[in-house]
Symmetry: C2
Subunit: 407 residues, 2 copies
């Protein structure tokens, strides 16, 4: 497996574009297209929020019922959630317009939206945007980056990532773009992530792999505890690498899964580290838990704690808040038999052991907490299960961004 | 039922004091005593955090096994959590010292701590503090207020409240002090609340009433989503009012329960409204839910949402965040059949109905959101169940307070 430059246009046959459609803000790219030159099998996971955005409903239906997809049209600025039947009509109209322009059936077109909940999409600008996207799309690294930039909202950096993996002698490429900075507590995240690959793989196996991997990647990040109405994670495979089809329970499947996992983990961490107002990526690794579910629950509880997040922003080694968050996570454990550490800056310091705070050097702790990446390690000493979760610190900028989002 | 001035010393036979023991900060009261002239039956509910502070363990044991209690010794500055066997020895030593000074058995003494997790209590200062408390305690309104002030941490105002209720011709008084501003998401709350009453009531019935009422009061508030290691809510009844004993399922029981509920609801709201950095009390009322449990889940999800809290701080009518928080609460509902309103400043405005945003006047919304108390009303249109939850806005001051708590 090899990390390469690029994003969604890294695999063979994928084109992209990002353009200015003027949906909410002037002078910024706010619509993107991802297009495959040939039909793709697709798998997806979507928000578990009871309130689902119209594009989430549209995409679930397409991915459930349609054997192949070939294009995705994405807008930012407006989430198309809380928009009733008119919201669904906007999805249909978007798909219809793109299908006509691209010569595809409507049910081969996925849609994605992110932004403010409530307002209806300005369909005149969306339709003009689609025409511009169809004309602009190309199979180039720059086009992938344009698409990655066009899907940003409060993100401060665009997120694209690509890897290549050898599948039975054939090089298969997986490329991804993602966005998401606030309302991030994915329980599938307003994260959007689109992964494109040229692998030959069945829809069924791709679906199995996607549903398994999201549990350890996007579902293990949190910025603010708010599970969005629009979270969507979609993988499209167009088969143009020409590898022998990947079958379940084979070394090739394992290699592909590891590559997919690296893509998703990298993007999930990028979202957490670029959380609204964030100054630091916070990683919590739970080791030696009794069950995988408890390991995940414990790790996610720590990175979700407002008090722990604020302490890290303050570079304050207030490990009591880590202990507290482990304690209310919902997972059971013996508080007298776990160890808690900070790791970073090439150092590892013990904070808590055998029911007691451990003596540590405050200057070392402060140095670790001043890094752009802070790791908290909890050794539960109960079993062999491990999980990692990613979040960020809670800063003045988070409050500032979200006290005045709509204006 | 009548609201009266006073706190824990309002009922007959209850004494209190608050003094400076120098536990963490100079020149502030940081230890309190509550003392009854005669033995009391007691009921309590405590944190559900797996990591329980030593005083929580001590008090649970006392309340479970001891027929009567007569005194509570409380310190702030240090939580006595994450302190191992030495922490439990501190509780024992505190109870022993107080018991000797007051002429009581050790198991008639409850203890309470709140502050930083991790450090051990300075027992020399605690012991000197106990002696000062025992000498200072009196049955006076000022003494109750001193105790209320002495248990504050980041609270900006002290919280005391008292009511009188007629029980079969006898006036019964219920008085309360409470504290708690951060690490508040009680799932009983670092809240501490102590209620004293002179009612004649059995320990069994008092326990039943306490466990029932906490679900609709302290367990329905949140400041930051962090369930403390120290949350304790204790009610003591000394019987000195001389009313005929309150029996279950009687009009007298109902009258007492209503009075107890008003005390707890008032104190719970006071904690939420004085949450760390808070500028506004946020109340979410869910009506016409299908089940009581779902009504509580929905209401608490809305007041817990960081995004909704930040929007209210910004006076931004971003109702999509309310809808989103209802949606990820865990309770199921049809997003196309509920109504969401803001209430305040004598106005009520519809925000969302039939799956769509409603037209409303932004100036009116801003006026409502600029009040010190903001109410969100969600009509689920599914049944007849109602619940109310209380929280606060998310402000720059919350971040500031918690980025630098230990120093």
């Amino acid at each position: 497996m090899q990390i390469i430059q690029g994003g969604v246009t890294a695999p063979i046959g994928f084109e992209a574009a990002g353009i200015e459609a003027g949906i909410k803000y002037a002078n910024r790219k706010d619509m993107a297209i991802i297009y495959s030159q040939v039909p793709c099998v697709a798998a997806g996971t979507f928000t578990s929020n009871v309130v689902k955005a119209a594009p989430v409903k549209w995409d679930r239906e397409v991915i459930d019922k349609s054997p192949y997809v070939q294009a995705v049209i994405i807008n930012t600025g407006i989430a198309n959630a809380g928009t009733g039947p008119e919201g669904m009509e906007c999805c249909q109209a978007t798909a219809a317009q793109a299908a006509a322009a691209l010569g595809l059936p409507m049910d081969a077109v996925l849609v994605g939206s992110t932004g403010v909940i409530g307002p209806q999409l300005p369909m005149d600008r969306i339709c003009k945007g689609i025409d511009k996207l169809v004309q602009a799309k190309t199979h180039s690294p720059e086009a992938g980056t344009d698409a990655a930039r066009a899907i940003m909202t409060t993100d401060t950096v665009h997120k694209e990532f690509a890897v290549q993996v050898d599948i039975a002698g054939t090089t298969v490429t997986i490329g991804s773009i993602a966005k998401g900075s606030g309302m991030i507590h994915p329980n599938m995240c307003t994260m959007l992530s689109f992964v494109c690959t040229d692998a030959v793989i069945s829809k069924e196996l791709l679906t199995t792999l996607v549903k398994a991997d999201v549990k350890d990647t996007f579902n293990m990040i949190s910025v603010d505890g708010d599970t969005s109405t629009n979270d969507s994670f979609i993988v499209m495979a167009n088969g143009m690498a020409g590898n022998p089809e990947i079958k379940a329970d084979t070394p090739e499947c394992k290699a592909f899964y590891e590559a997919l996992h690296l893509v998703n983990e990298t993007q999930a961490k990028a979202l957490a580290g670029d959380g609204e107002g964030a100054k630091a990526l916070v990683e919590c690794v739970v080791i030696n838990a009794d069950t995988k579910a408890n390991a995940r629950t414990l790790a996610r509880s720590v990175i979700s704690s407002s008090l722990n997040k604020a302490a890290i922003f303050g570079h304050d080694a207030n490990w009591g808040r880590i202990l507290c968050a482990l304690g209310y996570s919902g997972a059971d454990f013996d508080p007298d038999h776990l160890e808690v550490y900070y790791e970073g800056a090439g150092k590892k310091i013990l904070l808590y052991k055998d029911g007691l705070g451990a003596p540590y050097d405050e200057d070392e702790a402060t140095e670790i907490l001043s890094q752009p990446e802070v790791r908290i390690l909890a050794d539960m000493k109960m079993g062999t299960e491990t999980a990692t979760a990613w979040g960020c610190d809670l800063t003045f900028d988070y409050v500032s961004i979200n006290a005045d989002y709509r204006s």
